[in-house]
């Protein structure tokens, strides 16, 4: 099995395998890829559940850090994260260890709430980066926040707190050394880097994560039919692409090609905008908002983004979604779109009722509960935006029905890309809409 994760995760797996040896030694033969005794399945599944206790602990930290009236909101948000359909679908059915990772992330975010926890917050995040590098997308927010609140004096940005800088710098260096040292000594760093950053893969991931590029591809597909009449040139090579974006690389027929460099520049740009505000007003809420917006930017504009990465936005956002109604109305379309976009990960008929019913259950339970708990904002709400989010949620139901049932009845196995394309465009609209809405909330609050 190829490992596309950084060294600490390899150590984590090594620790797991020590346990596994006790359960069933056959599991660990390196060539045993298709091995699936029930002991293996039970063991693997129970390690996911056991490591999720870290998430439980982090959420308890989050609840404890909230005071007064916001405590109930914190409890609701914590339960919503723990019961998240995203974690259920990705971790417990699809199989990954995200619950544990997001637990560490939340612990790090909560530590940053108090001045005394800033250093440990940074170090925990560095360790997390060494477990799963996807969190590097959030690193700019950490960098700016720690720089402003920890390394620079709170009174003036021109006074540097040198001792704090040394502590943070040496701590991070020690963690990186611990993670990469053993591999560096064996000269495996280039191998690790090429495994971690796969720029050789395509722009869109197999199922088209609902980001800007999914909408871009959708527009391109539409233009193919329009282009001959308007007189645009069509790239014949892209037309021959049999998979049409279903699997692997997408190439565009009408619109200009997108390079990793463009993705990178756009991501950085849209991360930099909220970060300037964070630099000027470094409160904890602004920090969480900035983390969320960094997640948004990298998810929407990143290269080869996987659907799962939406949790990078949803989970930090959950922590502040209940601040007031304006935050909540930006959160709502994200909650719907983000979770619905995970549906294609599970495709067998047996899993279908679980993923849909559980997601609808979660959405209904928490959107209703959040609606009661979120206090009214002292600023004016965006009227149109609220309407947009209600309409948007309403559309999801016929769409899910069409994509999962009607399409197969009407077309059989033909046009298989259609439901996927509709789904990803629909969810992309929701994610982009909630991003724009939250940007507005972030800059006006």
């Amino acid at each position: 099995m190829d490992s596309g994760l950084p060294p600490f995760f390899a150590y984590f797996e090594a620790a797991m395998s020590q346990l596994a040896r006790l359960v069933d030694p056959m599991m660990l033969r390196v060539r045993n890829l298709e091995y699936d005794s029930w002991q293996t399945v039970y063991f693997q599944r129970s390690t996911v559940i056991a490591t999720e206790l870290i998430l439980v602990y982090a959420l308890q930290m989050f609840i404890d850090s909230a005071h007064g009236t916001s405590r109930r909101a914190a409890q609701a948000a914590a339960v919503s994260i723990l019961l998240s359909p995203g974690l259920l679908i990705i971790d417990h059915i699809h199989f990954q260890y995200n619950g544990c990772m997001y637990g560490i992330l939340i612990a790090s975010l909560v530590l940053a709430r108090h001045k005394s926890g800033l250093l440990s917050s940074g170090l925990v995040f560095a360790a997390l980066l060494c477990m799963k590098h996807i969190y590097a997308y959030l690193a700019p927010a950490y960098f700016v926040f720690l720089l402003r609140t920890y390394c620079l004096s709170p009174k003036s940005i021109y006074r540097i707190q040198f001792f704090n800088c040394v502590k943070l710098g040496s701590g991070i260096a020690a963690i990186l050394g611990l993670a990469f040292g053993p591999f560096a000594m064996k000269g495996q760093i280039p191998q690790i880097l090429s495994r971690l950053f796969p720029f050789s893969r395509g722009l869109c991931h197999a199922y088209w994560a609902p980001n800007v590029w999914a909408m871009y591809s959708f527009v391109d597909r539409l233009l193919i039919t329009v282009a001959p009449r308007v007189g645009l040139s069509v790239n014949q090579e892209a037309l021959k692409s049999v998979t049409r974006g279903l699997v692997g690389d997408t190439s565009f027929a009408v619109l200009p090609e997108i390079t990793p460099r463009i993705c990178f520049a756009l991501t950085l740009l849209f991360q930099a905008i909220p970060l300037t505000k964070l630099f000027l007003q470094p409160s904890w809420e602004a920090f969480i908002g900035a983390v969320t917006l960094c997640g948004y930017a990298s998810f929407l504009f990143g290269w080869h983004v996987h659907e799962k990465a939406i949790l990078l936005v949803i989970i930090p956002f959950s922590l502040i979604a209940l601040r007031d109604r304006r935050h909540l109305s930006a959160f709502r379309p994200l909650a719907v779109a983000g979770h619905v976009s995970l549906f294609p990960l599970l495709f067998t008929p047996a899993e279908f009722p679980i993923k849909t019913v559980y997601t609808i259950f979660w959405l209904m339970l928490f959107l209703v509960m959040f609606d009661r708990l979120a206090p009214a904002s002292n600023r004016q709400r965006f009227f149109l935006f609220d309407r947009f989010s209600t309409l948007y949620i309403a559309i999801s139901i016929p769409l899910i029905v069409y994509c999962s049932l009607v399409h197969r009845i009407v077309f059989g196995n033909r046009y298989e890309f259609l439901p996927l394309m509709f789904m990803s465009s629909y969810t992309a609209v929701g994610v982009v809409g909630s991003w724009l809405g939250f940007m507005g909330v972030y800059f006006t609050s």
Partner: protein, 589 residues
């Protein structure tokens, strides 16, 4: 349907302030006393039922579907496979053969032995399934099929049938029954979740595979019609239950006593009696009508019910003397033959007192005295006498006091009587007494400690006696998860002792209940330990199963006596204080 019953609800609430006063002590509870109440805690207050009910139904549905991902009975177990194959085979028989052959076709391979409604249900499901994949129900070829998509289809049919019949019935019953006592809606929701999460029902229907909830749903509909005072519909629904599964006969005496009693007490109501009688006859007629017409039509087309016999009429399997009076070549004879065959298939009189190991009186007694040494006729008589003795007290009470509040107790006591003493009982029949007992949770003080501890005891013991059945097909994990989950949700042993020692009850009753239940729970846990880790001695390979049967029978006997005792207590026949029931009379009318 239920609209007229709850439309004027707001006004009623103001008028019947006395009932609010009854509900008050429950409403004043400040902290949840068991985990399920804690889970539903945020739903107190102003939350509308249109928000809570869908959430409850989705949550219980998820548990059912997830449990259904486990294997079913008889999976890849030739030669006969299991219950799953039986149900699938009936879909095959009913969709592929003319209706007159349904009850005759290859009886050695899971011949149809349920009443006609099951056959029609199988026919409908088979027709739907054949649209998806006709090979699932191909005659002969599909036997023992283990197609994974077929499994999903079959699981879905159980869930859909349940959501169309059992779950609406449970929701309506819980609403009516809780309103009878003025129980707050929130409390009724807690009870509804507890009822729908009953481990034994989920394990048997959704994991082991059967359609019991369809029959149980008709029974619940019948009971809630009784609560609403619609006696005719109570009869119709009960006929549907009987027509789906003959096991509903366990309740028949109670239904009969209540309906007849309510025609006589407090004053004789002949009109009601006639309506009930006619409705029953008509619904039975409708039930067998397709079979009758099918037999006539097929005979007319020259299709034989038993094709191999070349038109000769074999003797009737039961009541052979009928043939002396009837003309075997008459036009009605195929109908007689058909109905006699159906009765013969549905009621297997010829089988022994008990088949497998089941936790009832006979099987437990068999450990001490070898019952097989006695003549069958004697055993049959003994069984009949014991059953009658067990069901007479609850039914007499219900007959003389046909009050709605007593229905679950009387139904439970009657069903326990049948389960303990009747003929040909199956482990799965424990579902029948468990249902009326569990719905007590929605009634007066239903979530109080006394009822919760007894209902919990019966359900956990019931699931435990099904363990040998489940572990034969490797279903230990769903058994453990669902049973522990239910025990945890309701705050029952082994997860909590919170359901014992209620204030305001006599001290020694509390101690006895706690000690007896504690002893049973300890025995059940010990038994699981032994069964898992210790092999039984070679001379007695069935030792653990026999121990299970013995403990189970003793515990069920206690449940029978508890239901009977509560029935006596609630009916007030011993206290002679008729004034106590007078204030509830206006409500029940």
């Amino acid at each position: 349907m239920a609209a007229p019953a709850h439309k004027p609800r707001r006004k009623v609430n103001k008028k019947t302030a006395t009932f609010d006063a009854i509900a008050k002590p429950e409403a004043l509870v400040r902290t949840p006393s068991f985990p399920l109440a804690a889970f539903l805690w945020p739903a107190r207050g102003s939350v509308s039922q249109w928000e809570v009910l869908p959430l409850i139904l989705m949550a219980v549905g998820l548990f059912r579907w997830a449990a259904g991902l486990w294997g079913y009975s008889g999976f890849q177990k030739p030669p006969m496979f299991g219950d799953y194959e039986a149900q699938r085979h009936w879909m095959e028989v009913t969709t592929q053969l003319p209706i007159s052959q349904w009850y005759f076709h290859d009886l050695q391979w899971w011949g149809l032995d349920y009443p006609p409604l099951t056959a029609y249900h199988s026919w409908l499901l088979g027709k739907i399934g054949a649209i998806i994949d006709p090979t699932w129900f191909a005659l002969f070829e599909s036997r023992g099929s283990d197609d994974p998509t077929l499994k999903i289809f079959m699981r879905a049919t159980v869930i859909v049938s349940e959501y169309l019949i059992y779950i609406p019935a449970a929701v309506i019953f819980v609403r009516r029954y809780s309103r009878l006592f003025g129980v707050a809606p929130w409390t009724a929701w807690v009870a509804l979740v507890a009822i729908l999460m009953q481990p034994a029902t989920i394990l048997i229907d959704h994991v082991h595979f059967q359609y019991n909830t369809v029959m149980l749903g008709f029974v619940l509909s019948s009971m809630s019609s009784m609560l609403a005072g619609r006696h005719m519909w109570a009869a119709v629904f009960f006929v549907a239950a009987l027509g789906f599964k003959q096991m509903a006969l366990y309740y028949a005496p109670a239904v009969f006593s209540f309906l007849l009693g309510s025609c006589i007490f407090p004053r004789i109501n002949l009109g009601r009696f006639v309506v009930i009688a006619i409705a029953t006859i008509i619904s039975f007629a409708i039930l067998i009508l397709p079979i009758v017409l099918g037999a006539l039509y097929d005979a007319n087309r020259g299709i034989d019910s038993q094709p191999g016999l070349e038109g000769k009429h074999p003797p009737l399997p039961i009541f052979p003397q009928l043939a002396d009076y009837l003309d075997t070549s008459a036009i009605y004879y195929p109908v007689v033959e058909q109905l006699v065959q159906m009765v013969h298939r549905v009621f297997p009189f010829a089988r022994g007192l008990f088949e497998d190991k089941v936790a009832n009186f006979w099987c437990a007694a068999n450990v001490v005295i070898k019952l097989r040494d006695y003549p069958t006729v004697l055993l049959q008589r003994a069984s009949l006498a014991a059953t009658l003795a067990a069901i007479a007290p609850p039914n007499l009470i219900l007959f003389f006091r046909p009050r709605k509040e007593l229905l679950p107790y009387a139904f439970a006591a009657t069903a326990w009587g049948f389960f303990m003493f009747s003929y040909q009982v199956h482990e799965k029949s424990a579902l029948l007494p468990l249902l009326p007992m569990t719905i007590l949770l929605a009634g007066k003080q239903g979530l109080g400690k006394e009822i919760r501890s007894w209902v919990g005891f019966a359900n956990l013991l019931g699931a435990w006696t099904m363990f040998p059945l489940l572990q034969r097909v490797e279903l230990r994990v769903p058994y453990a998860v669902l049973t522990f989950l239910w025990a945890y949700l309701l705050g029952l042993p082994p997860t909590s002792t919170g359901a014992y020692f209620q204030e305001g009850q006599s001290e020694w009753i509390q101690w006895i209940t706690a000690l007896v239940h504690g002893a049973f729970y300890a025995l059940m846990l010990m038994w699981h330990g032994l069964e898992q880790f210790v092999l039984p001695p070679p001379s007695k390979p069935d030792l653990w199963v026999v121990a299970n049967v013995g403990i189970g029978a003793a515990g069920f006997m206690l449940c029978y006596f508890w239901c009977l005792g509560k029935l006596v207590q609630e009916s007030g026949i011993l206290t002679r204080k008729t004034g106590q029931s007078a204030d509830q009379k206006p409500k029940t009318q």
